[in-house]
Structure formats: structure tokens, C-alpha cells
């Protein structure tokens, strides 16, 4: 039995035989060529083909690991089109009269060398990307195949894996990744995480163990080769436990979030755009508890029109098919700045001109959004939620504007549905007047991120305040409890849509307080549901 310590890149336990993946050293020889023009054509054709392969790879990766993680292949494609890279290759073929393979490999090495010499770990990692694309072009020039097919399932051990190699592997057959080089920041490590495969990197394991039994401990970052029976048994048990945990979560899908005593908690998802709806539904969201409408403003270079907004709201309403969709009106300012709003610099933006304060002073912007929201309500179950309320007059003014919008739509013969109106409780002021606020609206949603920051007077981005920051501070919990009590007194429902809602240590406490709804990002839906089901 031998242990090799690496760095954990993704947790999990794998037990199986080692498969050594030979690095494909495409030996490139320098050859003198006669016909420069022909060689340049060969290179251009190979580059185009390599680019097509990357496009296909991008699509495969997008399906398997999502657009964000697949983006590296798009970057690879752009590197292949980089002027400096191409000029260097062409120049080498022309002036040195060498074969395209050699020019590509040399240029790849040069650029990789530039990245490797940088003083930034992330950029050093990009050396692998340049080598990866160059090797691809060389393979196309040579006419060699790219991936080794895996015949049996096993633990994959390699010097390093290019992102393209990682994605092309048959996922069913890879129990774990172990690399001798690489970093926890490498794209391969990131891909392993999304593929849910245990991975360790920088593991100094010699190349002699192909076919041997081994254990990958992705928690401790350890590779154990030829384990003894006792170790094997311990790990088999641990692996069983892990599988059990995952199975439990999968089993929770389709079950309602009801406590042992029969109280049902509505479990909704937070989304930042139309693209998140799929993941929310896959994880059993019963509705959308917070749809951040900012993305519409952020991705546009001028104020989004009523039609543009309507399209997005309508799409989500229709995808959720009658389930509740709570859309938060414009919440920019503070840390979210948008150029064309020309908000100007403020000394204290967190306490400045933001959210509803902008909406009530620039009513044209608010008016457009409300019209779009009301029009979208004809296509599904839409609710509107107003952020950063501190005073009663604010919500009363919002209601006046809404009633004008409704009147206008009626006069124009445009249909709309019934829309619930709620406020976000995210300032201590709103908590203190929640009894009165509750008389004005249909629901409350507690925004714990801002509520925490304003209650504790702590900027959570400021690392120096870590010692003082306590997310479970009794002041916060009492604020929440007070809000719940006042909501229920007025007969309205109350939920939590901030990060605290996903804190599984607090689920039981929230249930005890009488919270009606929790809205969390999709990854937390099932773990929170498990906690609700376990509550008395």
C-alpha cells in the first residue's frame, strides 16, 4: 500500500483500477519545405478544421457542464484566430521555409512560455490552453486521432489533462481524475466539479501502476495505490455513505416540503434571468420567490423598452405555468451601477440613491417596468415586490402609480391578471414599522443580506470585519421573528429570499417562527427541503 498526497480539486470517493493516460506527445520534426504557398494553405485548412472541432466540443460541453464552463472552448477558438499567433506561424513558414507542424508547435511553445513566465497563477495555467490548441492543429495536420477510447471504467491518471480531453472522455467510465500537474484552478478541475467526479491534482505518483487497484480520496486529496483490505473496507463504507447522501437528495425530488406536524413551507427559487428557470424546475422549485429584474438593465446599453421587459417576464411566467413568479422591481445603485443611469458618485452608496428611491424620483423608468409587469400578468401568476422600503408613504405612492398603470391599460384595452404586491423587508426601519406596512400589501419577503448589513452596520465585503460579523446574530433573528409576527397579525404571508434562507442550520428556527416561504438558489432547494421534512 502506498499513499500519494495531492491537492483535492473535487470531493468524493472512488475505488477502482488505475488507467494511465499517456500524454499524446505528437513528435514534431522540423522539415524544410519547397512550396511555401502550399504549406500556408495546409496550415489555414488545418486551423479551420481545428476551429470546427472546437465548435463541436463547445456544444458538447455546453450540454454536459453548462455554458459558463464551456466558455473555455470558445476562448480556445478565439485564440486560434489570434492575429499574433497566426502571424507568428505564417512568418515562420515563410522565412524559415519550415513545415506547418513545426511552425505551429514552436509558436505554441513560445506563447505558452510567455504565459508560464507570468507572475499570476491563473495566467500560468493558460499556458496549457495554448499548448492544447497548438496540439490540436498539429494533430489535424498529421491526420492523427485525438482521444484514446477507454475500454473499462477506472481511475484516470495523467500528467495533465487538457480541458478538451476532459470533456471528450466517456463520463460513465471515469471514476476519478488524478493528475501529476495541474492546479485546483485549472479548467479541468472546474469541469470535474460540474461533472461530479472526484479529482485530485499535483499528485506525485509514478507512472508504474496501470491496472493496479487504487482509492481516490477527494476529501483529503489522497491517492492510495494497492490498498490493504482494512483500508479498502473503510473507504467502501465511506463511499456507501456518500452515495446514500446523494440518493437521499434525489429521493426528495417530487416530495412536498412538509414538516412532520404537517405544516407546508413553500420552497421557491431565486433567479437572475430566464436562463435559470430550467435549473429551478429541475430542483423542484414550487415557484420563483425572487426574480432579480436587474439583468434586463445590466445587459442593455440603454433603458430596456416595455416590450423587451414584457418578453422576459412573460417567458418566465409561461415556463412556470401558473406557479407563482415574484419579480423584484429595479434594484440598482449601491454595488450595482449602470452607466446609462448616470447615477454619479456617492460617498456612501449603500445608504444612497438606489432601488425604490430611484423608481420614485424617476417615475418614467418605474412606469415602463410596471406596465411590462402588469402586461405579463396576463400570461401567468405574477407578483411584484418592491425593494428598500423604509416608509409607509413610499409603498402608498407605489400603489398610486400602480393604480394609474392599471387604469391606463384598461383604457387601452390591454388585458392583465391579478397581481399580488409585496415589499422586501431589508431595512431595520421596515422591520420596526412592519405592523403598519402589513396593512398595505399582500406579502413580505425578508432580504437578509441587506437587513444584516444595515442592522449590524457591517459591510460584508470587508474582510477585516470578519471577527465582528455573525450571520446568526440574535438581533437579526429577532428582526425576522418580529416581521413574521406582524405579517401574520395582519393576515399576510411572509418569506425569506436572502442568503440566510438557504442556511440549513436555521431552517428549523425559521419554521418555528412561522415563516411561510423560503426562496433560495437552485442548488439549495433540495438540501433545504430535507431540513423542512425533518422539522417537527
Amino acid at each position: 500500500m502506498k499513499d500519494y498526497q495531492g491537492k483535492a480539486a473535487f470531493s468524493g470517493i472512488a475505488i477502482g483500477r488505475i488507467i494511465e493516460m499517456a500524454t499524446q506527445e505528437d513528435t514534431v520534426r522540423r522539415k524544410h519545405i519547397m512550396d511555401v504557398q502550399q504549406e500556408l494553405n495546409r496550415f489555414r485548412k488545418a486551423r479551420d478544421l481545428a476551429s470546427e472541432q472546437l465548435q463541436i466540443l463547445y456544444q458538447k460541453a455546453e450540454k454536459e457542464v453548462g455554458a459558463t464552463n464551456a466558455a473555455i472552448f470558445e476562448v480556445h477558438q478565439m485564440m486560434l484566430e489570434d492575429e499574433d499567433y497566426i502571424d507568428s506561424i505564417i512568418n515562420m513558414i515563410q522565412t524559415q521555409e519550415v513545415n506547418a507542424e513545426y511552425a505551429v508547435a514552436m509558436t505554441g511553445d513560445n506563447f505558452a512560455g510567455m504565459f508560464a513566465a507570468m507572475d499570476d497563477a491563473y495566467m500560468q495555467g493558460r499556458a496549457a490552453d495554448v499548448k492544447d490548441i497548438s496540439a490540436r492543429v498539429v494533430r489535424v495536420l498529421n491526420g492523427t486521432n485525438e482521444t484514446q477510447a477507454l475500454s473499462d471504467a477506472g481511475i484516470l491518471v495523467a500528467d495533465d489533462l487538457a480541458p478538451s480531453e476532459t470533456v471528450q472522455l466517456d463520463k460513465e467510465k471515469v471514476l476519478a481524475f488524478v493528475t501529476r500537474q495541474g492546479s485546483t484552478n485549472s479548467h479541468t478541475a472546474i469541469l470535474a466539479r460540474t461533472m461530479n467526479i472526484p479529482a485530485i491534482v499535483t499528485t506525485p505518483v509514478p507512472q508504474q501502476f496501470a491496472g493496479k487497484m487504487a482509492i481516490v480520496d477527494g476529501f483529503l486529496g489522497k491517492l492510495i495505490v494497492e490498498p490493504d483490505e482494512e483500508t479498502l473496507n473503510i473507504y467502501r463504507q465511506q463511499q456507501q455513505c456518500e452515495l446514500e447522501k446523494r440518493r437521499l437528495l434525489a429521493e426528495l425530488k417530487g416530495r412536498p416540503a412538509v414538516t412532520k406536524s404537517g405544516r407546508e413551507i413553500k420552497l421557491y427559487a431565486n433567479i437572475g434571468g430566464v436562463g435559470d428557470v430550467g435549473a429551478a424546475l429541475q430542483n423542484d422549485a414550487e415557484g420563483i420567490g425572487l426574480f432579480r429584474s436587474e439583468f434586463l438593465y445590466l445587459q442593455s446599453d440603454t433603458y430596456p423598452t416595455e416590450e423587451e421587459q414584457l418578453k422576459a417576464y412573460q417567458q418566465v411566467a409561461e415556463m412556470m405555468a401558473g406557479k407563482k413568479v415574484i419579480i423584484r422591481t429595479l434594484d440598482i445603485g449601491a454595488d450595482k451601477q449602470i452607466g446609462y443611469f448616470n447615477l454619479g458618485k456617492e460617498d456612501n452608496p449603500a445608504m444612497g440613491y438606489r432601488a425604490v428611491r430611484i423608481c420614485l424620483t424617476r417615475e418614467d423608468i418605474f412606469h415602463t417596468q410596471l406596465r411590462a409587469l402588469y402586461r405579463a400578468s396576463a400570461f401567468g401568476n405574477i407578483s411584484i415586490m418592491i425593494p428598500m422600503i423604509i416608509s409607509l408613504w413610499e409603498i402608498r405612492r407605489v400603489k398610486e402609480i400602480i393604480s394609474n398603470v392599471k387604469q391606463e391599460l384598461e383604457q387601452q384595452g390591454i388585458s392583465f391578471g391579478k397581481v399580488e404586491l409585496g415589499v422586501m423587508i431589508e431595512t431595520p426601519a421596515a422591520v420596526m414599522i412592519s405592523e403598519e406596512l402589513a396593512q398595505e400589501v399582500d406579502f413580505f419577503s425578508i432580504g437578509t443580506n441587506d437587513l444584516t448589513q444595515y442592522t449590524l452596520a457591517i459591510d460584508r465585503q470587508n474582510e477585516r470585519l470578519d471577527t465582528f460579523f455573525d450571520p446568526h446574530h440574535p438581533a437579526i433573528l429577532r428582526m425576522i421573528e418580529m416581521t413574521v409576527t406582524n405579517a401574520h397579525k395582519a393576515g399576510i404571508w411572509v418569506g425569506i429570499c436572502g442568503e440566510l434562507g438557504a442556511d440549513t442550520e436555521l431552517t428549523a428556527a425559521f419554521v418555528r417562527m412561522g415563516i411561510d416561504e423560503l426562496s433560495v438558489s437552485h442548488a439549495f432547494l433540495l438540501p433545504v427541503k430535507k431540513n423542512i421534512i425533518d422539522c417537527d
Partner: protein, 85 residues
């Protein structure tokens, strides 16, 4: 020639993906766009050169637009930096 100075806010700095996006959006403009950091400068269409500058979080860059509709190009760049970097 128009320009603005921008301080990078993205924690990772100008890493591969935003650099790629930057090149893409510069190619859509009709002005020549130059990114300058201290003594170093590169055209906004050169991906590897941009990455090679190793621009980090907190560092200042000057974005320069020359020729074509400079105002429009610069506005597009300003928005791009604010949203992506």
C-alpha cells in the same frame, strides 16, 4: 482620439473569458481601440497580447478609441468594462 481610465474590479483581473469577450466587442466597433496599462499598450483585437499584459484586479487601464465614431465606440467600451470587468 477619446479615452477613459478604468480600474479593474473583477477579482480575477482580465482573465481568458472577459478578454475573449472584449476582443469580440472591439471587433464590432469601427474605431481602433487600444488598451494601455502603464508603459504597455495593445490593440483591443489581440487576445493573447491582452492576456499577456496580466491586468489584475485594482489596476488602472486607459481605454483609447481612435477613428470612426469615437464617442459611440468609447461608450460601448465603458459599458463593457463596467459590466464585465
Amino acid at each position: 482620439m477619446l479615452s477613459f481610465v478604468y480600474t479593474i474590479k473583477d477579482k480575477q483581473g482580465v482573465h481568458a473569458r472577459p478578454a475573449g469577450l472584449l476582443v469580440k466587442s472591439v471587433k464590432e466597433l469601427d474605431s481602433k481601440v487600444t488598451i494601455q496599462k502603464g508603459e504597455e499598450a495593445t490593440e483591443g483585437t489581440r487576445l493573447m497580447a491582452l492576456m499577456g499584459m496580466g491586468i489584475k484586479c485594482g489596476e488602472e487601464v486607459t481605454v483609447i478609441a481612435e477613428g470612426g465614431d469615437e464617442e459611440k465606440s468609447l461608450a460601448a467600451m465603458r459599458l463593457f468594462f463596467e459590466e464585465n470587468l
